[in-house]
């Protein structure tokens, strides 16, 4: 059974770590990186993820630039951007208009919504039904 690998990038360690934890709990493999450079390093030296969840506003290379570089070198990697800043939306809209496709969620994303979003992106509906994630599904259904 090959669990899909998810790379979480956020300069806020608390956010990156908790998100990575949530992804693992949901049934995926995950890894947290705290900046774009680290993320690139993981991609180059370790494993190509199925999905990269990235913050946008970060010191150094920002989330949008990172996404563009990743998209160029590892086109299969799906990308989900999360931003707490309104202007980010304008940038992403601009990129979308140029032919790129990014998903963008406004921070803070309720964890349950995020899990559902990731599951739908990875077409891992089984994640939601899997034994290890029964709790999640039940939580979602409750809502």
């Amino acid at each position: 059974v090959s669990q899909k690998f998810i790379l979480v990038v956020d300069d806020e360690r608390g956010v990156a770590d908790t998100l990575a934890a949530i992804m693992q709990r949901a049934g995926w493999r995950s890894r947290a990186a705290y900046c774009a450079e680290d993320a690139m390093e993981v991609l180059r030296t370790e494993e190509e993820p199925a999905l990269m969840i990235s913050d946008v506003i970060m010191p150094g290379i920002n989330g949008v630039e990172l996404s563009l570089q990743v998209r160029r070198r590892w086109p299969k990697v799906q990308i989900l951007l999360i931003s707490g800043n309104a202007t980010t939306q304008e940038i992403v809209n601009k990129l979308c208009a140029e032919g790129h496709s990014f998903e963008l969620l406004a921070k803070p994303v309720p964890p349950k919504q995020l899990v559902m979003k990731v599951a739908s992106l990875l077409s891992d509906t089984n994640i939601l039904r899997g034994p290890s994630s029964g709790g999640i599904l039940s939580q979602i259904k409750k809502n």
Binding site: T18, N85, A86, Q89, Q139
Partner: protein, 939 residues
């Protein structure tokens, strides 16, 4: 006479005298009365008186004799006489005394005394003669003087004093040369020589010098004064002033010459006749007329002189006139004179008496005035009556034109009138009038009107250029009248298209007269044309000149009026199109004009609605400073302007009474004066600076907002990260299966509250600057999100929310902007309602839009205070607010701008006291729309 009381003594005396051979006639008197009577009655040779006579005597007799002034020898005869008596008698005037006893001495005494008396009488008489002569000389008006042979003046009478101005005292002893004029130095020597030769000079006219230096004309008679030995010892001269006579003579001569000259220079023929009709004198004109000299005619009876035809009728008429004139009557009649050339001359003849100063008729005066020309003129006048009538007609035409020129405004009709007159005056067949258009080409002529031409021919004349071969073209170049009596023989036209045009139109003769303004600018042309060769007369051309002057004035005036009107219209248009308001005031301050902007700014539709008087304006508006302090009437812009103050950027707030919308105006004002400094009008300009002023205020506020927005974005980011981490962490705990039920509930609460925090930050801070492409949005979700933000307010005011979401489509909009739209509307509604008010939130649609697209209708209504109709029109304007304290005046403007940006529209319906409903139409999302409509079909 013998004074004696004794007769015998008297006889004794008589006897003595008879004895001596005298015939004695004696009278004896013995009283004073008899003595006096005898003195008066007789011519006595001697008086012999007895010294003593009782009651009388020699001494009283002597007294009486002395009183009588008679010089009669008086001899006293006495018996005895003492020496004392003798002395007293001689002192009393007696000539001698004789004692009676020595009577023989009586006769010799008488004889001696009579001789003495005779001598005395002779001497007395001689003295009287000299005295009389001297008086005569002295009283003579002629100057009589004597001078010595050496020329020294020795005698000088009163007449000389008056004539020469010297008194006798001044002149006596002076040389005669004093009186001689300086231009006759040798006259005195000449006179002396002639007089010395024994000659008397009589009435010699010469000139003498007066004391004051003036010269007088005198006639002098000079005679020698010869001494006893016949030697010349002096000269006497009698001089008479003849200046007056000289002057009178000269005047007479001058007058005669003058009269002759006057007579000779008269154009009338004048003759002087004696009362019987004999010609005495004739003037030059008269003599020349008959080519005769005066000796040939003077002395002849007037009726036989060569001026008169020898027709008996004419002679009879003249003689009758002479008879009447001799009786004092003047006769005057027209008659013919014969002239030297044998022609007859018609004269106005008159014969009148001439009287002297006593009224006596002394002469007759005949005069004749040549009336040939007058007679001829009368004849000519009669013969030209027809011509005169024609000219009168022309004058009448011209006068009519000039009258109408002043009175009529119909310029076309006047052109017609001028053309008609031109035709009439010049007896022409065609006429045209053209206006000079300097701005076209090199300056061309435009046809204004024409007479006689066909419309087709007129088209040829529509425009004439300076290179044309027509008379108009020539006149255009030369600026002078052009007359072509026959176009066929006019070289300049030969072979030209213009000649062809004339020929086709049937024109043989043309004249063109240029029309000039009084300042000398070319205005146009007036032309007349004839079918036959034609030459106009000078008088016709003169009339044409008058007409041309009038036509020029007309065109000039009309052009000036038109320019003026155009100017006025333009000015009016400029004034009315000014963005600034302009009120024109007369010197009393009454508003005589408001431009459109001024009317609009004050809320008037028409000029008639606007107030004229200041007081009326004060009744209708409140004026106060921008900071809210009141402005007294004397500080109103109009009042300041009328005081002569220049007003510039005077910013005031104005609000129509009783409660209108406040505007902020910037006033300007100036007084327009004439050259004498009198105020013509006042101009008050008004600029609405409300927007600008409020923008200024809003700018300050929006700067704050913007900074708040920026901060909000930062804060949102700063909050979101820890929030996300916390939420994530809680989530991780909550999915721990080992968690007991109680803890799980607490975790869930924490999660819910954290999500609410996240939601709030997104709503309040998140949509600032948020933009993007429209996406399909779920309206109820958005509305609920907005309501969440205002939850505390809604709860506080106990406002009930009534939702009715019937829209089946999602709205195509930008999330943040749609939220802002609702946020603004809901916020306004919350402000508008009282406690326990109601908010209605509804959706409906999709409806078919105007452009064929589907629209979703979103409604936000409230049960609030409502908006007045007037304000409702303006609520979407930027910076319009009724909430001065808290409003920016931007909310609804932003809302409407956002709606428009989304391709939607917004409407408001409101009623004061009932509430307000905002309706928004926004495009529906197509895909969703289709899906939902399918669902709708299934239902």
């Amino acid at each position: 006479m013998i004074v004696e009381d004794s007769e015998p003594d008297a006889l004794l005396v008589e006897r003595q005298l008879k004895k001596a051979g005298y015939a004695v006639s004696a009278l004896r008197v013995e009283s004073a009365a008899a003595f006096t009577e005898a003195l008066a009655s007789g011519n006595w040779d001697v008086i012999i008186a007895d010294y003593t006579v009782p009651g009388f005597g020699a001494v009283p007799a002597l007294e009486h004799l002395k009183q009588s002034s008679l010089d009669i020898p008086f001899i006293i005869v006495s018996g005895a006489i003492t020496d004392e008596i003798a002395v007293a008698s001689m002192r009393a005037g007696a000539h001698d005394y004789v004692l009676k006893d020595n009577i023989a001495r009586l006769v010799p005494a008488i004889e001696r005394e009579i001789r003495e008396a005779a001598t005395r009488r002779q001497k007395r008489e001689a003295e009287a003669a000299v005295r009389d002569l001297a008086a005569i000389v002295e009283s003579s008006e002629d100057a009589i003087l004597g001078k010595s042979s050496s020329g020294t003046i020795t005698a000088w009478n009163k007449g000389a004093e008056q004539l020469y101005g010297y008194t006798a005292k001044e002149i006596l002893g002076q040389p005669m040369s004093l009186l001689m004029p300086p231009d006759r130095p040798h006259e005195w020597a000449d006179i002396l020589q002639r007089v010395s030769a024994g000659e008397s000079i009589r009435q010699y006219e010469t000139r003498r010098r007066k004391k004051d230096g003036t010269l007088i004309d005198v006639a002098v008679t000079i005679s020698p004064i010869l001494g006893l030995a016949g030697k010349l010892i002096g000269l006497s001269s009698i001089a008479r002033d003849i200046s007056k006579r000289k002057r009178a003579e000269e005047a007479l001569e001058r007058s005669a010459r003058h009269t002759q000259r006057v007579l000779d220079n008269l154009t009338a023929m004048v003759g002087v006749l004696s009362v019987d009709g004999t010609l005495l004198e004739a003037n030059k004109v008269a003599l020349d007329l008959a080519a005769v000299t005066s000796p040939e005619v003077i002395g002849k009876p007037f009726w036989e002189t060569p001026w008169w035809s020898y027709d008996p009728g004419v002679q009879y008429q003249l003689r009758a006139a002479i008879k009447r004139a001799a009786k004092g009557e003047t006769t005057r009649y027209d008659v013919a004179h014969a002239t030297s050339g044998g022609k007859m001359m018609m004269v106005d003849f008159s014969l009148a008496p001439l009287r002297d100063h006593q009224g006596q008729i002394t002469h007759l005066i005949a005069s004749s005035i040549d009336i040939t020309e007058r007679k001829q003129a009368e004849q000519a006048l009669r013969s030209s009556e027809e011509k005169l009538a024609a000219e009168l007609l022309v004058a009448h035409h011209l006068q009519q034109v000039s009258t109408e020129l002043i009175q009529t405004d119909n310029i076309e009709a006047l052109y017609e009138q001028i053309l008609d007159t031109a035709v009439a005056v010049l007896n022409a067949d065609f006429a045209s009038i053209q206006m000079f258009c300097a701005e076209r080409g090199d300056g061309e002529l435009r046809l204004l009107g024409y007479r006689g031409f066909t419309a087709e021919a007129a088209r040829f004349l529509e425009w004439v250029r300076p290179d044309s071969h027509s008379t108009c073209g020539v006149a255009l170049r030369t600026r002078q009248r052009v007359m072509v009596p026959d176009v066929q023989s006019y070289e300049f036209m030969a072979g030209s298209a213009d000649l062809e045009t004339y020929t086709i139109a049937g024109i043989r003769a043309v004249q063109t007269t240029p029309l000039f303004s009084r300042s000398g600018d070319l205005l146009g042309m007036i032309s007349t044309h004839w079918r036959e060769p034609h030459q106009s007369t000078a008088s016709q051309l003169r009339a044409l000149d008058v007409l041309a002057r009038q036509a020029a004035d007309l065109i000039d005036r009309k052009q000036a009026e038109s320019a003026l009107r155009k100017n006025k219209d333009r000015l009016r248009a400029v004034i009315d199109n000014l963005a600034d308001g302009l009120i024109v005031l007369d010197p009393s301050g009454a508003a005589i004009d408001w431009n459109h902007a001024a009317l609009q700014l004050h809320g008037y539709n028409e000029r008639g609605d606007a107030p004229v008087l200041f007081s009326a304006a004060a009744d209708r508006f409140d004026l106060y400073r921008v900071d809210g302090t009141p402005v007294p009437l004397e500080q109103w812009p109009l009042a300041r302007l009328l005081r002569g103050e220049e007003i510039c950027d005077y910013e005031l707030a104005i609000r129509p009474k009783p409660e209108g919308q406040e505007r902020i105006f910037s006033y300007g004002g100036t007084l327009v004066r004439d050259s004498d400094g009198q105020i013509l009008v006042g101009l008050l300009t008004i600029r609405d600076i409300t927007h600008w002023k409020k923008a200024q205020l809003a700018l300050v506020r929006s700067e704050k907002l913007a900074s708040v927005g920026r901060m909000a974005a930062t804060i949102a980011h700063e909050i979101n990260n820890p929030l996300a981490a916390a939420m994530n962490a809680l989530y991780l705990v909550s999915i721990e299966p080992s968690l007991d039920v109680e803890s799980r509930k607490h975790l869930e609460l924490a999660e819910t509250e954290l999500e609410r925090v996240a939601h709030l930050t997104k709503q309040t801070l998140g949509f600032y600057r948020e933009a993007g492409t429209p996406t399909g949005l779920d309206v109820p979700e958005i509305i609920d999100g907005v309501l969440d933000i205002y939850r505390p307010k809604l709860t506080n005011k106990s406002i009930a929310i009534h939702r009715k979401f019937r829209c089946t489509a999602r709205v195509l909009a930008i999330d943040g902007e749609l939220r802002q739209i609702f946020s603004n509307l809901i916020s306004n509604s919350i402000d508008a309602v009282d406690e326990s008010g109601v908010l209605h939130l509804r959706t409906s649609g999709p409806h078919a839009g105007e452009a064929g697209n589907s629209m979703v209708r979103l409604t936000v209504g409230d049960s609030g205070v409502g908006i007045s109709e007037k304000n409702a029109k303006r609520i979407f304007e930027p910076f319009f607010t009724t909430k001065d304290a808290v409003g920016t005046g931007l909310g609804l403007w932003v809302t409407s701008e956002l709606v428009k940006k989304h391709g939607g529209r917004i409407r408001v319906r409101s009623k004061i006291g009932k509430g307000t409903v905002f309706s928004i139409w926004l495009p529906a999302e197509r895909r969703q729309q289709e899906r939902e409509s399918r669902l709708g079909d299934e239902q």
